[in-house]
């Protein structure tokens, strides 16, 4: 087997034992990128030179046996909104082409300290706004399982890279489903940690109260290893939480007998693709077979209001977060502007794409004097109700199981002209962000046409250990993880 096809878990052991070198592994991944990424388009920037240097350094570390972590020598890709010192970070926006951050995000610092190899920066919807990666201003990313289909979004580059083996694992970010939905579309594992579990310092903000960085990987164990390195309190992020470190990986194999699993009817309502429903229900049955107690009588009654509340809160925050892209200090500046106000107008009109501008306008409106109470404040109240729905269910259940997305990957152009239809593809993931909960998407099978489908598992705040354990157990039973699409080699 080619090295790039192996799991992070295996590669990490092989590196530690000295069976393979980080340089070989990195070269293998770089070769894979060269061979297939022309067709997939997962990367915006490939840092060949940096990756080889980091691999060489990792080999020295591996040889000495000191400071070896499960990520030492592992080639990882990063969604292009995670700041990397000196390495272009674009948010897939014309606004930030050529922008090289002067500092590393906290997660990047932690990856570097662990000895990971950073292969480059991955495509996404511009400023993480979208559900198909079609909103990238810089390139198109295809679903490795069917290149006529979208990879999902906004972390479409991160999930396509793992599926296409152009990275061993990656980091994405999830604001309303942006890790879980593309993970489901690309047949990989994608996890959104509890809000506050992973530092947001250096994550270029879309909606600060919802954004969370999380791992994307081939298997649950791989995701657990990656989470173990990036999670933890950071004094540079006031919203990061100081809860002593859990051992996500070592606790995966504890059984789940007697664990209570809730299934909420609101997540199986009209609009759910029958094939998706069948696969998810089958997964519930499999979990029951190994001793989990399924309770199909739980209710999350405010689910219907989640999308509306989300698109007010997220856009309100975004309208403010994106105000800094004004052409003054860095990034794009319109060169035909006359005076300050004209510079602002033209820079932002030309630098942002349509969806970003749409959301800035929505959010600006929601915060405007006279509308604040009706929109922003009301949406905050809905958010509280949704959180209470979950609290109530978690009084009786350990985890909730649901579909990730009502449909499998859709075709390019299918929803891009209809923003509302696109927004609704996040209907099953958004409530989790509003409540700040941890959740994961694990592959649970394929449609007849060969498109992957994900199972969503949602846990209580900071119950990532339980979440990963259920996901791992399911993965062992079902055996869908780790499958690879057939990809024709050769750049397009």
């Amino acid at each position: 087997m080619e090295l790039y096809n192996d799991t992070l878990e295996n590669l990490s052991q092989r590196l530690a034992k000295g069976e393979i070198s980080a340089l070989e592994l990195t070269q293998s991944v770089l070769k894979r990128i060269a061979e297939v990424d022309g067709k997939i388009g997962s990367y915006i920037t490939v840092d060949t030179e940096g990756a080889l240097a980091q691999a060489t350094a990792a080999d020295i570390r591996l040889k000495s046996g000191e400071n070896v972590t499960p990520l030492t020598g592992i080639p990882l890709g990063l969604k292009d909104l995670i700041s990397t010192a000196g390495l272009q970070t674009t948010c897939a926006s014309k606004m930030l082409v050529g922008y090289r951050p002067e500092y590393d995000a906290t997660v990047v610092r932690r990856l570097r300290e662990a000895g990971a190899v950073i292969t480059g920066k991955l495509n996404m919807d511009e400023f993480a706004m979208g559900s198909s990666t079609e909103n990238s201003a810089l390139k198109k990313t295809c679903n490795p399982w069917n290149t006529g289909r979208v990879p999902g979004g906004s972390s479409g580059g991160s999930t396509a890279a793992v599926a296409a083996a152009t990275a061993i694992a990656t980091l994405g970010s999830d604001t309303g489903g942006s890790i879980r939905q593309p993970a489901s579309f690309c047949g990989v594992v994608g996890m959104k940690p509890t809000y506050g579990r992973v530092s947001r310092y250096g994550l270029i903000a879309f909606a600060s109260s919802l954004d969370q960085i999380g791992p994307v990987a081939l298997t649950v164990a791989d995701a657990a290893l990656l989470l173990g390195v990036i999670a933890g309190h950071d004094e540079r992020d006031s919203t990061s939480v100081n809860i002593p470190g859990a051992n996500y990986y070592d606790n995966l194999k504890k059984d789940i007998k007697g664990l209570k699993i809730g299934v909420s009817q609101e997540y199986f309502s009209a609009g759910l693709d029958p094939e998706v429903e069948t696969l998810v229900r089958k997964a519930c049955g499999q979990l029951a077979d190994v001793g989990a107690l399924i309770n199909e009588d739980v209710s999350l009654p405010h689910t219907d209001y989640a999308v509306a509340a989300y698109y007010l809160l997220a856009t309100a925050e975004a309208s403010s977060n994106l105000a800094r892209y004004d052409g003054v200090k860095y990034g794009f500046r319109s060169d035909d502007a006359d005076g300050l106000v004209d510079m602002y107008r033209k820079t932002r009109a030309q630098g942002f794409g349509d969806e970003v501008k749409r959301r800035i306008m929505l959010g600006t409106y929601a915060l405007s004097s006279g509308y604040y109470d009706a929109y922003y404040r009301k949406a905050q109240q809905v958010r509280t109700l949704i959180t209470r729905d979950f609290d109530k269910v978690f009084g009786d259940c350990d985890v909730i199981v649901a579909p990730v997305c009502p449909t499998p990957a859709f075709a390019f152009g299918e929803k891009i002209a209809d923003p509302l239809a696109m927004y609704l593809s996040d209907i099953l993931t958004i409530p989790v962000n509003l409540a700040g909960l941890p959740a994961i998407s694990v592959p649970c099978g394929f449609t007849k046409s060969g498109l992957p489908v994900g199972l969503q598992i949602i846990a209580k705040p900071f119950a990532e250990e339980t979440l990963l354990r259920v996901a791992w157990q399911y993965e062992q039973l079902a055996g869908w993880s780790g499958r690879r699409p057939e990809l024709e080699k050769g750049a397009v």
Binding site: L81, I82, S83, T89, C91, L96, Y99, P101, E102, Y103, A105, R200, Y201, G202, L203, I204, A205, A207, S208, S209, E235, R236, D237, S238, T239, A316, E317, S319, S320, L322, A323, R324, D326, V328, K329, Y330, L340, Y344, T364, L367, S368, S369, Y372, Y376
Partner: protein
């Protein structure tokens, strides 16, 4: 028509913290442009604010000193607007739930006590500064050294009824903030600045009139002038049957007028909302108690104590406590030399004259409290006269020499207290004016002054006047 003037003030104080409000950069003034910056205070993508606890301490200190309630769980909000000196496109400030609410300040205007309500005190970050180079047209630079420097804004109720009250409030507020060591109170450099909301209404009218907001007044004098100008401007409009427009006006110091900056229709919609990057600031009672225990003595309390404990007149206490550095100096001298009234006189008359001439603060006074105490001791024990004392003080001040005894010795300024020498001098003077001696003996006791004067003249002021008095009486009494 007769109108009632209604004024509310918004005071901004730059806090004397060593580091900025949301990052560890220095707040030091005068560094090269953009030297005191980092990803946080320049608003780089992905950087996040972390609150400097000291800023909350200072805000609570200011709140307690102005009788405010401290908000138990206060929140930061974003104030959104575009300007190149604002790196994030929003200012982190407070809107709903500011750190302090509902206080007051008692002021005195023309002998009348008046209580001015304080609506709220909130914390916020300052913006950077635009630099427009003189010889490069069409180019501007931005210096972010000041971006993220902590401020508090103190908003008063519209309780002031004239320029004099506004200035009295502002002076009292400045004095308190300086006493608290929360702010250096420098109006010219802008570390203590104020905006005024002014409106007029007919006497007895229940509602306020339309207000104008005045900005850019960088001294007490300018506040006074600007308010007086604005009151007249509005009076003219109202008397002419017009109506005042709600607007923001800039005071132009050189022309002595204010100019409209922006009208109501151009007013920003700041779209305030809670900053999701910062948690609510929970201020527990223990924290408030800790700040309260460490509050320094405030101007009013110190004033009362000066009058009660040192027995100095109220007017003296007014002058001495107006600046806490002067009060500190006074008390330092009192500790070494227990004659408060004499010290007060010396500070208010001599010392302040020198300081005012040189326009320097008492903290930079070349004469130390020790030096002054020693000088006063020399006067009291008769080594030198008060008049010579002033001469010695001038020397001490100009040469920063704090050893008055040495100065007196080196220059032979000590009073003549040698009885033998004085006796012969007295005898000489009496012998030279037998007529006047007769007059004196005939009951014209006023002649005593003449003799003393003659002897002082003869001794070049060095004779001890008291001894001279006694000697004359002894001789011809």
């Amino acid at each position: 028509m007769d109108y009632e003037i209604v004024i509310g003030l918004e005071v901004h104080c730059q806090l004397l913290t060593e580091t900025k409000i949301f990052c560890g950069c220095s707040t030091n003034f005068g560094n090269p442009p953009n030297e005191n910056t980092c990803p946080v205070c320049t608003g780089m993508p992905g950087a996040l604010p972390v609150l400097n606890r000291k800023v909350v301490d200072f805000a609570v200190r200011a709140g307690l000193a102005t009788n405010c309630d401290i908000t138990q769980s206060s929140i930061f909000a974003r104030k959104n607007y575009f300007y190149p000196d604002l790196p994030k496109g929003y200012q982190i400030s407070q809107f709903e739930l500011p750190v302090c609410v509902g206080g007051y300040l008692d002021i005195e205007v023309e002998g009348e006590q008046k209580r001015i309500g304080i609506t709220r005190i909130h914390m916020e970050e300052d913006a950077g500064k635009l630099v427009h180079p003189e010889h490069e047209y069409g180019v501007s630079f931005v210096d972010y050294n000041r971006a993220c420097v902590p401020l508090i804004e103190i908003v008063s109720e519209p309780d002031m009824r004239g320029a004099a009250e506004a200035v009295a409030y502002l002076k009292a507020m400045r004095n308190i903030m300086v006493y608290l060591e929360v702010c250096d109170g420098n109006m010219e450099e802008g570390s203590f600045r104020c905006d005024a909301n002014i409106s007029l209404r007919r006497w007895g009218a229940p509602e306020f009139g339309t207000r104008a907001e005045l900005k850019n007044m960088n001294s007490f004098r300018n506040v006074q002038r600007a308010i007086e100008y604005e009151v007249e401007r509005q009076r003219d409009i109202l008397d002419g049957g017009g109506s005042v427009v709600q607007e923001t006006r800039l005071w132009n110091v050189d022309r002595g007028i204010s100019i409209s900056m922006r009208g109501k229709e151009d007013a920003h919609d700041y779209r305030y909302f809670p900053d999701p990057d910062l948690l609510p600031i929970v201020i527990e009672d223990a924290w408030i108690d800790e700040v309260r225990e460490n509050l320094p003595e405030l101007p009013v309390a110190r004033h009362q104590r000066f009058v009660a404990d040192y027995g100095i007149p109220v007017v003296d206490a007014d002058v001495l406590t107006a600046d806490h550095n002067v009060a500190d100096y006074f008390e330092a001298v009192v500790k070494l030399y227990a004659q408060p009234k004499a010290i007060a006189n010396w500070i208010m008359v001599e010392l302040m004259k020198f300081l005012n001439d040189d326009k320097i603060s008492i903290t930079k006074c070349p004469v130390t409290p020790q030096g002054l105490a020693e000088l006063l001791g020399l006067i009291e024990d008769g080594t030198i006269s008060g008049k010579i004392g002033k001469q010695v003080f001038a020397q001490m001040y100009s040469s920063a020499d704090n050893d008055p005894r040495q100065i007196v010795e080196n220059q032979g300024l000590a009073q003549m207290s040698d009885t033998g020498e004085l006796i012969s001098m007295v005898d000489e003077v009496l012998a030279a004016s037998p007529d006047k001696v007769k007059e004196y003996q005939g009951g014209k006791t006023k002649m005593l002054g003449f003799f003393v004067g003659q002897i002082m003249k003869k001794s070049k002021g060095q004779a001890n006047p008291q001894m001279v008095n006694e000697l004359i009486k002894e001789r011809i009494g």
